[in-house]
């Protein structure tokens, strides 16, 4: 039976694993965060295997974006620590790049300057960073739009610019905050297929926040289901059977459908 292939181990109170363990790129340890009265995260621990895509899935208000921003170093946890390649995170670093839900492009800058902006901030020379930017603009399928401005592009193309910007700084870890939620359904499907090949071809670790169950199951090597109030990891699911069956066949795979159903069954009582 398909279900037996999934690993349902709960990591809610998992003992922390040694930092030196080779296949873990990012680990969150006992992370707590409160905003005033609201407890966003309570002593949450989770590990992100290297070279794989882990999605954080849960109803709104479960703290998944908060966790992602803590990993990015944009927010500080009240307690606990994040280790990236064994080193504790104290702020944003060159080993992580962020893809934003609202794209966060500079409206006054051309596509090529936007893509090269991460390198510009690192002091890379103009000609060099534009060469790198041009390469990634081509990779995300925007060749020919180098000198266009963001408002001339569709939502999907804008997010491709955001993705190219994150890729061009060549970070080990790519943090994606609901990157496809602001694009239309068909563009989103194309993005999801592209993301699968991106995970396969780039040797990077992806952390992907989403509220779409289908999207999470479709793109992930590992799905962490987060529950709100207090935030905790309900379970970690590792789909295994359909990963190699090809982008177009995944949605027909019985294991895919079973996992989607199972996740909905465990989440439905938490959705208002």
């Amino acid at each position: 039976m398909a279900m037996s292939q999934t690993n349902l181990a709960s990591v809610q109170s998992a003992p922390s694993v040694a930092a030196a363990e080779p296949d873990v790129a990012v680990s969150a340890r006992q992370i707590s965060k409160t905003y005033g009265e609201v407890e966003a995260l309570r002593s949450l621990s989770l590990e992100f295997p290297r070279g794989q895509l882990t999605s954080l899935l849960g109803p709104s208000g479960c703290g998944k974006t908060t966790l992602l921003k803590i990993v990015a170093g944009l927010l500080e946890p009240d307690s606990g620590e994040i280790l990236v390649n064994g080193k504790a995170v104290t702020g944003p670093g060159p080993d992580r790049a962020f893809v934003f839900q609202d794209f966060a492009l500079l409206p006054w800058a051309s596509v090529i300057r936007n893509v090269a902006f991460g390198l510009e901030l690192r002091g890379v020379a103009k000609s060099e960073r534009e060469d790198v930017a041009r390469k990634y603009i081509g990779n995300v399928g925007l060749a020919g739009f180098e000198n266009a401005y963001p408002h001339e592009l569709s939502g999907g193309m804008r997010q491709r610019v955001g993705l190219a910007r994150a890729l061009s700084v060549d970070a080990d870890v790519l943090l994606m905050d609901e990157p496809f939620s602001a694009v239309d359904e068909q563009t989103r499907r194309k993005f999801q297929e592209d993301l699968l090949s991106l995970v396969q071809n780039e040797n990077k670790t992806f952390i992907f926040v989403t509220h779409s169950i289908e999207e999470a199951v479709y793109v992930s090597d590992q799905i962490a289901i987060l529950l709100p109030r207090p935030s905790r990891v309900l379970e970690v699911i590792r789909p295994s059977g359909f990963r190699d069956s090809g982008a177009v066949n995944i949605r027909r795979d019985p294991e895919y459908l079973d996992i989607v159903d199972k996740i909905w069954a465990s989440l439905r009582s938490y959705v208002e």
Binding site: A72, G73, L74, P92, G93, P94, R96, A97, F98, F100, D102, F103, A104, L105, L106, P107, W108, A109, S110, F117, G118, E120, L121, R122, Y149, P150, H151, E152, R158, R165, V169
Partner: protein, 253 residues
């Protein structure tokens, strides 16, 4: 073919000047000259050099005051926008400055700084600076949080965030503050020449009125308006050159 906007501009000029000419011919008042009389006086003053001599005087407090207001105003405005503490300290001063009846304050300035250039520069600054400071501060405070966060996540230093994110994002509102501030500065310069000591263009206005040479008086007023309009156009061109991309709209459109 002439562009539509140019045609409209010319048409509106013809309408305004035509109305002026008719009002002068009616006449609405014996102290109100026609447009053509005023233009004749303007040409005469330009040819005999009085106008240039007058502007050499008037432009001194105007240029110094506008420059001080622009640099200091944008600087203080950025600072107020970045720091809440600084806002508490300085923002009330500029709000009071903006609301104060300037003409009533001029005698105080004269007592403190005399009747020379300093007082006139002060008047220009009091007129021009508040709107520049308050506009800049508001624009800086309203920089979209997500692009600041983006810059930080890509390792921007604080100086990068200010120079590459906040200033460009705030530039349209800063420039509109500058435009308002500069026009207020023109008013301040003339006001100081009417209220402190009659020099430059203010002298032409006061003197022509006292001898009932109304065409010259209106010619002087007209010339200062013309100069202000020209200056504002130059400012707009500058904005285009420095922050052209901002005219290309916002991503959130």
């Amino acid at each position: 073919m002439i562009s539509r906007s140019l045609v409209l501009k010319l048409l509106s000029a013809v309408l305004v000047f035509g109305a002026w000419e008719i009002a002068g011919r009616v006449p609405v008042s014996y102290a109100f000259p026609t447009f053509l009389e005023s233009m004749t006086a303007l040409v005469a003053m330009t040819l005999d050099g009085t106008l240039f001599a007058a502007y050499a005087e008037t432009l001194q407090p105007l240029v110094i005051g506008v420059l001080i207001s622009a640099f200091l105003g944008i600087g203080i405005g950025v600072w107020i926008g970045l720091s809440t503490k600084f806002e508490w300290l300085f923002s009330p001063i500029f709000i009071v400055m903006q609301a104060a009846p300037l003409a009533a304050l001029i005698p105080l300035l004269v007592m403190a700084y005399g009747i020379g250039l300093t007082s006139k520069v002060f008047v220009v600054c009091i007129m021009a600076m508040p709107v520049i400071v308050l506009n800049t501060a508001g624009a800086v405070r309203n920089t979209p949080a997500s692009i600041k966060e983006m810059a930080r996540s890509f390792l921007a230093k604080d100086s990068d965030v200010i120079l590459k994110i906040i200033i460009p994002a705030a530039s349209p509102v800063i420039f509109s503050g500058l435009r308002l501030g500069v026009s207020a500065g023109f008013i301040g310069a003339i006001l100081s020449e009417l209220k402190i000591t009659p020099t430059g263009v203010g002298d032409i206005i006061t003197y022509s009125r006292s001898i009932a040479d109304y065409p010259s008086m209106y010619a002087a007023i007209f010339s200062i308006i013309l100069l202000a309009v020209l200056f504002l156009n130059v400012l707009e061109k500058l904005e285009h050159i420095f922050f052209g991309g901002n005219h290309r709209g916002y991503v959130s459109d």
